[in-house]
């Protein structure tokens, strides 16, 4: 179940990040077509909606998991693992330059979330 939560959250994050990359710098879009135009550009993006759907499914999966599993295991484990899977997904799907510094940051934050929830 933790795997499903992590997979859906990662897919949601990647789709939303991809949508925002497709739309472009929000400040530039806003300067061209105003705040209303910028919001419309986001709302008209199918990738954005798919991302929000995945995040909603991830949230409901988390609620479902919490109904039978220990909150102190599921919540931190899924939150921490999502940082690592997002780094992999960002490198391979979004083609981001995930250098050593970013890997180290992802591992530090992942371990930090784990320790913080103990």
């Amino acid at each position: 179940m933790i795997g499903v939560i992590v997979l859906l959250a990662t897919t949601g994050d990647v789709l939303i990040a991809g949508a925002m990359r497709q739309i472009g710098d929000f400040d530039v879009v806003r300067s061209h077509s105003g705040l209303k135009g910028a919001i419309l550009a986001v709302l008209r993006n199918a990738r954005f909606f798919s991302g929000v759907l995945c995040m909603a499914l991830s949230f409901f999966s988390l609620l479902f998991a919490l109904s039978w599993a220990d909150v102190s295991l599921v919540a931190p484990a899924s939150a921490a693992l999502t940082f690592i899977t997002n780094a992999f997904a960002a490198k391979w799907i979004l083609k981001e330059n995930v250098d050593g510094r970013r890997w180290l940051a992802a591992v530090c934050v992942c371990m930090g979330v784990f320790f913080l929830s103990r």
Binding site: M20, A105, G112, F115
Partner: protein
């Protein structure tokens, strides 16, 4: 990275943690919600803590989307992780809770992670067009000028 962009990352960190804390405080006042009485959730919206919490989370999502439009996912996500540190510090200094040594280690690790990532470039350039060819394009086309693309990696 400009000062304004650091402010947006700050809003991502602060609004998520404050929103979650407010929602938690509000739902404790509302009490347990049964799956058979989901309409109780609508009543919960009348609770000022729940309503404020939702407002903070809306601001968080807007700031998160804005940050993702000029920064990589692997740059923005550690910043969201820093929200856990803010919650822990709020609980210590505002709610007078004690923080165990394991939690201090967690705070240190997340702070280190955020520190590492903010030292590097915020955005990955996939193309390197000639800056002399930079031309303004209409918004919403998904294209950006070369100077805009080159400027964000600094």
């Amino acid at each position: 990275m400009t000062f304004r962009r650091y402010l947006i990352l700050g809003a991502v960190m602060l609004c998520a943690s404050v929103g979650d804390t407010f929602l938690s405080a509000g739902m404790k006042q509302v009490g347990p919600v049964s799956l058979h009485h989901l309409l109780t959730l609508l009543v919960a919206l009348k609770n000022p803590w729940v309503f404020s919490g939702i407002l903070f989370l809306v601001v968080f999502f807007a700031a998160y989307l804005t940050a993702l439009s000029w920064a990589d996912l692997t740059f923005v996500l550690p910043a969201t992780g820093f929200g856990y540190v803010i919650i822990a510090l709020l609980s210590k200094y505002w709610l007078q809770e004690t923080i165990s040594p394991a939690r201090w280690i967690g705070i240190l690790l997340i702070t280190l992670g955020v520190g590492f990532v903010t030292q590097g470039p915020s955005y990955t350039n996939h193309t390197h067009p000639d800056p002399r060819e930079a031309v303004a394009v209409p918004a919403g086309t998904g294209e950006r000028t070369a100077t805009q693309k080159n400027g964000r990696s600094a």
